[in-house]
Symmetry: C2
Subunit: 202 residues, 2 copies
DNA sequence: CAAATTATTGAATGATTGGTGAACAATTCT
DNA sequence: AGAATTGTTCACCAATCATTCAATAATTTG
């Protein structure tokens, strides 16, 4: 046989996680087994267990990877915009964009949500992620509010409200968007959100 | 042994579905097997397959049952309120209430959402249910709008908005509500929704 | 009461599951 | 070069899975 090319943990681990993610999209949480991931990658199942002791670890590693990407990707996008009004617009536009909604495959997204109901470790990770996002918005909104770019009474609730609407939108796209493009209702939601933020309605 | 008490399909089927629901809450979609449902009910696994040919059928039957309950329970609550303003208030209060959010166990709720990504039959059922709710709100909002109880430009989008916010709230309770009671942020969301509905903001 | 139907259990199926521990191969360390 | 470490495969395990078909028990029908 052509020489087996060994890789090291640094390369193999992400490769396995990527394979896991792919299989997850196609097969779902129930249908995804270590065996399937292995055959999708053309490696032996035991190799996966060699790197990630057990399935729970594998799952947590993927979630951590996803969250890491989510954070870095979105955070870096806005930090360089100096002008507050501009940054506010860019931020809101991003949150209600199709691109944002597809940061992670929505099927996988929902799958891990669901997992969090029965897996305390998963729940912790997701809570942290959403709290991180909420707190990020909170910090930004504090600035926007002090500069009159938005007008809200309760900045924390305003941040909560945006995250809530953003997640509701994810759901809307799945069950009510159906025939129409994502952007259509997203625009409506965004305008409503802006109205709430700008008129001391929260 | 004491005489085995046979039941007929009309009694046994709901009993199995109830058992399925219970096991689902505790074990999740991945952890729920026909065997576990059977032992939870103290019956033989084959009996479940006798009534529901296969697992897919069982799943669909439970979803249909849930949706049926959901519809009848909520619909009947408001039809008897003649006064439009009163009915509007009651309707909005219900939608943003803890009770409403717990109509179905949120874990099971999310689980079937998730299923809908990979199971076309499940997806159809859920779309129908949410469209039913949206259309119900639409019909009501038409009346409220013509009577000036609300003031909206696009009644359909207003209905979509309420459903979206309602579902976002479900999510918020799970990931951001955490330490605080459901009602607290629900009240904020409700007030924002009311502001949007009453001031031609949608 | 007998026959037909329905409810229920039983035994067995092959497939798949996550996981273990040892072997073998490649790479790195000394 | 030899030892140690790391990467990878292999053979195997008990458990569990959904599903099947036949057997038995209760109930309904004729």
């Amino acid at each position: 046989m052509a020489g087996r090319k060994n890789q090291n943990a640094e390369l193999r681990k992400p490769e396995i996680l990527e394979g896991y993610y792919r299989v997850l999209i196609e097969e779902g949480l129930e249908g995804t087994s270590i065996g399937k991931i292995a055959s999708h990658l053309g490696i032996h199942p035991s190799l996966i267990l060699h790197y990630f002791k057990n399935k729970e670890n594998l799952r947590l590693a993927l979630i951590e990877l996803m969250i890491g990407k989510f954070k870095s990707q979105h955070l870096l996008t806005f930090d360089h915009i100096e002008d507050d009004a501009e940054r506010f617009t860019a931020l809101i536009n991003m949150i209600f964009s199709y691109k944002w909604s597809r940061t992670v495959d929505p099927g996988v997204h929902f799958g891990f949500y669901y997992q969090s109901f029965r897996d305390a470790n998963v729940a912790v990770l997701f809570r942290e992620m959403f709290q991180w996002l909420r707190n990020y918005l909170y910090d930004e909104f504090l600035i926007f509010n002090s500069k009159g770019i938005i007008q809200v009474n309760d900045v924390r609730k305003a941040a909560d409200f945006i995250v809530t609407l953003m997640e509701g939108l994810e759901f809307h796209a799945q069950f009510l968007g159906h025939d129409k493009p994502f952007a259509e209702f997203a625009e409506t939601a965004k305008q409503s959100a802006l109205a709430v933020l700008k008129n001391k309605l929260i």
